[in-house]
């Protein structure tokens, strides 16, 4: 028995790398474009990262079904090589190096989140590979003189611009409590929002960050109540934002305005029930927006196909994942080449609209690759026909429902 176990273990040891090689080895033939990326299949970023990846995979499958990417009369099938980064920054650099050297990825998509995209960008740039950033809003990597890094989504500096504008329109004397996760993305977003709020004449009565591992926000909510704030801007990523929302409701903080980052952008946020009602979330894209795409699907087509393929509602993470692919495809086709410098030149010249919105990259050396055209919307959890869901409430030109202000007080 023992001998059998040893043989089985040895066989596994030898067989496993061979199988992995079969799956992942960059077997680039002339008619394939290999795109490398990591996905947080496990760890804290799993939900948003998987959504982003699904969007990208849907683009890949559609492109391949339509005959591939056409470059100067030749068609290239798209192949993905993906690894699990476990939501850990330390894994990203190893894996992107592997994607480039071992798997021979010709183009790269970023991991999800600012925290993981920044270390990946160091590697992509070092090897001169184009990387489209679909899930990292922080602007810092674009101030480092990178030439091959392109941001598909609105940068963190503008995340809460719409919320500040809408709040100012409703209450020019609002007193804001800002409480946010102590991570680069949230800090950048709230620092910019604070400057915008103060410029608009709003008063910031509380400005504090919390450790991402915080489990109980009870004392923090009491502090918000003590600050006499009537508006709240903050949050961070996923469980913390939802816990904050629930505890503000349970403890009857009765704020007239609550904007929370990221967490309310997920469908599961609706499970908070009345605690979700009235909460706004800055969103890169919502199912209700209706941009006129110059290429690729419309919002309705994308949302329907996504629902059919994954039996899940499309959100902005999946839309940004798809858009990264569509934009890269457009750039390659415009360049008529898969040479990184020629594709980068096409991306620099790009000024287009897709179902995801406008896309244009900064070309000045101080901000090269930063997204400068895409606009965010503000979504609010509202009750429509007895069902809780997100509605676009800002800007008014894109709104699908009127903004509810103030949020109805907790009635429990």
């Amino acid at each position: 028995m023992k001998r059998l176990c040893i043989i089985a273990a040895a066989a596994t040891l030898f067989a496993a790398p061979a199988l992995a090689q079969d799956n992942n080895q960059g077997n680039n033939n002339a008619d394939t474009i290999t795109i490398g990326m990591t996905e947080s299949q496990t760890g804290a970023l799993n939900v948003d990262s998987v959504a982003q990846q699904r969007g990208a995979e849907m683009w890949r499958d559609e492109v391949n079904a339509a005959g591939g990417i056409k470059v100067s009369g030749k068609s290239y099938q798209v192949k993905f090589v993906t690894y699990d980064d476990q939501s850990v920054g330390g894994r990203v650099q190893q894996l992107y190096t592997r994607l480039i050297i071992q798997d021979k990825a010709q183009f790269l998509f970023s991991p999800y989140s600012s925290g993981l995209s920044a270390p990946a960008a160091v590697i992509s740039e070092q090897y001169g590979k184009i990387m489209l950033v679909g899930g990292g809003a922080e602007g810092k990597p674009f101030e480092l003189g990178n030439k091959y890094l392109f941001q598909v989504i609105t940068s963190a500096d503008h995340y809460l611009s719409g919320a500040v504008e809408a709040l100012t329109a409703k209450n020019p004397h609002a007193k804001i409590a800002m409480v946010y996760s102590d991570d680069p993305f949230s800090k950048t977003v709230l620092a910019a929002a604070k400057a915008q709020a103060q410029k608009a004449g709003l008063e910031v009565v509380m400005d504090e960050s919390y450790a991402p591992s915080t489990t109980d926000f009870g004392p923090i909510v009491n502090k918000i109540i003590s600050s006499n704030a009537d508006a709240f801007l903050g949050g961070g990523h996923y469980p913390d934002g939802a816990t904050l929302a629930r505890q503000m409701y349970d403890q009857k903080a009765n704020l007239k305005w609550v904007s929370i980052l990221v967490a309310p952008g997920d469908e599961k946020f609706g499970t908070l029930g009345p605690g979700a009602l009235g909460i706004t979330v800055p969103s890169q894209w919502e199912i209700q927006v209706s941009y006129k795409p110059q290429f690729g699907p419309t919002t309705a087509e994308f949302a329907k196909a996504f629902q059919a393929k994954y039996n899940a509602l499309a959100d902005y993470h999946s839309a940004s994942g798809y858009s990264s692919g569509a934009i890269l495809q457009h750039a390659i086709e415009q360049a008529g080449s898969i040479d990184p410098d020629q594709v980068a030149a096409a991306l620099n010249a790009m000024d287009v609209t897709t179902f995801f919105g406008e896309v244009k990259f900064a070309t000045d050396p101080a901000h090269h690759g930063l997204q400068i055209a895409h606009q965010m919307v503000l979504a609010q959890w509202q009750m429509t026909d007895g069902k809780l869901g997100r509605q676009v409430v800002w800007p008014t030109a894109a709104q699908s429902a009127d903004l509810i202000y103030p949020i109805p007080p907790a009635t429990h």
Binding site: Y210, A211, T215, P219, R246, D250, K268
Partner: protein, 288 residues
């Protein structure tokens, strides 16, 4: 001023639940010198048991307590045979590694099944308001239940034959065997009780906050702090340690930026380790 008092009360309420979670960890350590690194996963197990019972079977949230208590015990007894039994008497690192491995397996299965998506169990209980500050009913009830379960554990350990036998095993396993106590069975019962407490505390936390498969890490860390504060191997001390931690969080937050709370917590943690290496409320080693 009212805000500070509210934060302190809030701290005590949540602290009792932290204390209950830590009791599970410290009980296992007290009886067999094993640090159970599946503790966080078991807390999450309690949360998901609550979610599944409430959402799938429509069980009222607090009626989930008995099944979680019993289910936790059975899971704990199984854990003993899988990961602990063969490590008893070996260097502590062995049991640390084996329970850590089981923890990774459980978290991996959980992530595979549920992802790291958010789950919320809505509990609607009237709260108590003092001025503008409200103490949610679920927090009050969770604290009361935590205190009652802790008292029941104390009575069990000190006033039942089985409890006394457990303490005897903790005190001197060889002597306990000599007087005819089936120590192996009792060790399995101790792990069962420890995991059961972790599951129940997870269930109670699930009535307070939304959670994900990964939520256990934060509570496991808190359980370690509480255990050190309360004294390793001392369940009653763990409850007091939990209240102390909750009070500390409540007392610090109104005065300093919230990002400093964790720093202050860990500075105190280190100071306690220096001043009281066995914990503030440490009992005589092995006395439970």
């Amino acid at each position: 001023m009212l805000g500070i008092i509210a934060s302190l009360i809030d701290g005590v309420l949540v602290g009792l639940v932290y204390g209950l979670a830590a009791m599970g960890l410290t009980l296992i350590w007290g009886v067999m010198d094993v640090i159970n690194l599946t503790h966080g996963a078991m807390i999450v197990g309690g949360m998901f048991a609550l979610y599944l019972l409430v959402s799938a079977l429509g069980v009222p949230p607090y009626w989930c307590l008995p099944p979680v208590l019993i289910g936790g015990f059975l899971v704990g007894a199984a854990l003993y045979w899988v990961a602990v039994h063969r490590m008893i008497g070996r260097p502590p690192l062995m049991s640390l590694l084996s329970t850590f491995a089981v923890n990774l397996v459980l978290i991996g299965i959980g992530t595979g099944v549920w992802g790291t998506a958010l789950f919320n169990v809505a509990v609607s209980l009237p709260g108590v308001s003092i001025g503008r500050y409200t103490f949610p009913g679920a927090h009050i009830l969770a604290a009361v239940l935590a205190a009652v379960i802790a008292a029941a554990l104390y009575l069990f350990l000190h006033h039942t034959r089985l409890g006394k036998a457990l303490r005897a095993v903790a005190n001197n396993r060889e002597a306990a065997e000599l007087v005819g106590i089936p120590t192996t069975r009792l060790l399995a019962i101790a792990v069962g009780c420890g995991v059961s407490l972790a599951g129940v505390s997870g269930m109670l936390i699930g009535t307070l906050f939304p959670f994900t498969v990964l939520s256990g890490d934060g509570y496991q860390l808190k359980s370690f702090i509480v255990t050190v504060l309360g004294g390793f191997g001392n369940p009653v001390g763990a409850l007091l340690g939990g209240v102390a931690l909750g009070l500390l969080e409540g007392a610090v937050t109104p005065f300093v930026p919230v990002s400093w709370t964790l720093v202050i917590e860990f500075v105190l943690f280190v100071l306690v380790l220096i001043a009281f290496p066995g914990g503030i409320f440490a009992s005589r080693r092995g006395a439970l």
